[in-house]
Each structure stands twice: as structure tokens, then as C-alpha cells.
């Protein structure tokens, strides 16, 4: 893979590590946004333009903003007197290292990845639209319902009850 992909991957990993390590919560959210942008660059370099643009639009433009607003609404931004991590953090890191290590081992030693590298596929948005409305129309309707339900649910859950004053 070219140097551009390496740079994008490095940016994503640094953003991910940063979002898990910073003490200040809002810095974590910004590092997460950086890692989303890095991932969008990875998608563009792999030839999936639509997903890259959708990633920026949805994740950076909506999810990161949601996370930041939720951080502001819960007012727990900078806690200097509390330790950074929970008590059993060593176990957590060990579990994560084990999980990712075993996954990488499986990937590197498997036969699936040994195949020939095909040419860069071209994806037209029209083909994507035809598949969405053709083979995957039930999934499309399902995700529409899901998004509507989650929108209504989120509004109802976070609604300030009026009688609790």
C-alpha cells in the first residue's frame, strides 16, 4: 500500500489512541474526529468514494458533534483530582491486547489474504442506488424505520420532564 495510505492509517491510529488517553474530555472528542477523517481518507484511497464522503458527513458532521454536545450537557469535562482510568485498567488493556493480537495473528496466517490483488474496482453511484432499491430495499426500509425510531426515542428519553421542577 502506498505512502498515502500509511499516513492516513497513522493519523487514524494516533487519533484513536489520543481519544482514549487524553484527560480532557473535549480533547478526546476532537481526537476522535481526527481519526474519523483519517478513516475517510483510507476509504477514499481504497476506492470507496461514497463511503468516504458519507463517513465525513455522518461521523464528523453529526456523531462527533453529538458526543461533544453530550459532554457539555453532562459537565464533567476536566477531572484533575480523579485518576484517569478505572481501577482494573491493566486487565482491560491486557484483554484488548490479547484480542487484537490474536486477530492480527489469524489475519496474517490465513490463506484468504494470500490471493492475487485485483485491479481497483470502479463504483458508480448509480449502481449503488440500483442495488439499494433492488436487492437491499428491505434493509433500506428497515434502516429508515430504525433511524426514525431512534430519533423519536432519543428525543423522548432526553426530554426534561416538566413536573420535576
Amino acid at each position: 500500500m502506498g505512502t498515502a495510505f500509511c499516513i492516513a492509517a497513522l493519523l487514524t491510529l494516533l487519533g484513536g489512541v489520543g481519544s482514549m488517553c487524553f484527560r480532557n474530555l473535549v480533547h478526546c472528542a476532537f481526537a476522535l474526529a481526527v481519526s474519523f477523517v483519517g478513516l475517510a481518507a483510507c476509504y477514499l484511497l481504497l476506492g470507496a468514494e461514497f463511503v468516504g464522503f458519507a463517513q465525513v458527513l455522518v461521523y464528523v458532521g453529526a456523531v462527533a458533534i453529538l458526543i461533544v454536545i453530550a459532554m457539555l450537557l453532562t459537565r464533567n469535562i476536566e477531572s484533575k483530582h480523579e485518576p484517569l482510568v478505572a481501577g482494573g485498567w491493566v486487565m482491560g488493556v491486557c484483554v484488548a491486547v490479547l484480542a487484537s493480537g490474536s486477530l492480527i495473528l489469524c489475519v496474517v496466517n490465513s490463506s484468504v489474504v494470500q490471493g492475487p490483488v485485483s485491479a481497483r474496482p470502479t463504483m458508480s453511484t448509480r449502481a449503488l442506488g440500483e442495488q439499494l432499491m433492488g436487492d437491499y430495499v428491505m434493509a433500506l426500509e428497515g434502516i429508515g424505520l430504525l433511524l426514525t425510531a431512534s430519533l423519536i426515542g432519543a428525543v423522548v428519553i432526553a426530554l426534561r420532564e416538566k413536573e420535576e421542577r
Partner: protein
């Protein structure tokens, strides 16, 4: 390493980072941030298999990634609404303070 193996190992690394964060940080919102990183790593897996797999003209990987992005957005919205409500009831988003199921 073939390009597919490189992409997959990178996504496994990212998954590990997200998992480590979700398991170790105390703040509930940061657990959600870790979950987002894990979902993104899985998306990258799908796109990598679409790019280097046998049938890229079927667009399966891309469609799965698009649906996954939509579902992640919905799940983030509901999860954050829950955290905000919990903060209003309990006064804290620290996971160590949210240890009792009693209301």
C-alpha cells in the same frame, strides 16, 4: 504482507485501541467513543474485503459499510440520550458511581 493483510491488521489494531478505551476509561461517554472506534474498525474491514475480494462489482462491502454507518449514528444518538438522562438522575457520569441497579 499483501495489501489486504495490511488493511485487516490495521483495522484489528484500531479495534484493539477502541476495546482498550471502552474497557478502561471511567466516563460513560468515553465508553461510547470506544464503541464508535470499534464500529469504524469493522467498517474498514468490510471496505478492505470489498476492494481486494473476489466480487467487487456486487458492492456488498460498500452497502454493509453504509448501513453500519447509519446504525452507528442511531445508536450513538440513543446512547447519548441515555447518558444525559442518567446524569440528570444520578448527578454523575462516572461509571464507578453507577453501580447499583436500584432506581
Amino acid at each position: 504482507m499483501s495489501p489486504l493483510a495490511q488493511c485487516l491488521s490495521f483495522s484489528c489494531l484500531l479495534f484493539g485501541v477502541g476495546l482498550a478505551g471502552a474497557l478502561t476509561r471511567r466516563n460513560a461517554i468515553l465508553v461510547l467513543v470506544g464503541i464508535e472506534l470499534m464500529l469504524n474498525a469493522a467498517n474498514l474491514n468490510f471496505i478492505a474485503f470489498w476492494r481486494f475480494g473476489p466480487h467487487p462489482e456486487q458492492l456488498t462491502g460498500i452497502l454493509f459499510a453504509i448501513f453500519s454507518i447509519g446504525i452507528a449514528a442511531a445508536e450513538t444518538a440513543v446512547g447519548l440520550a441515555l447518558i444525559i438522562t442518567i446524569y440528570r438522575h444520578r448527578g454523575s457520569t462516572n461509571l464507578d458511581d453507577l453501580t447499583s441497579l436500584k432506581g
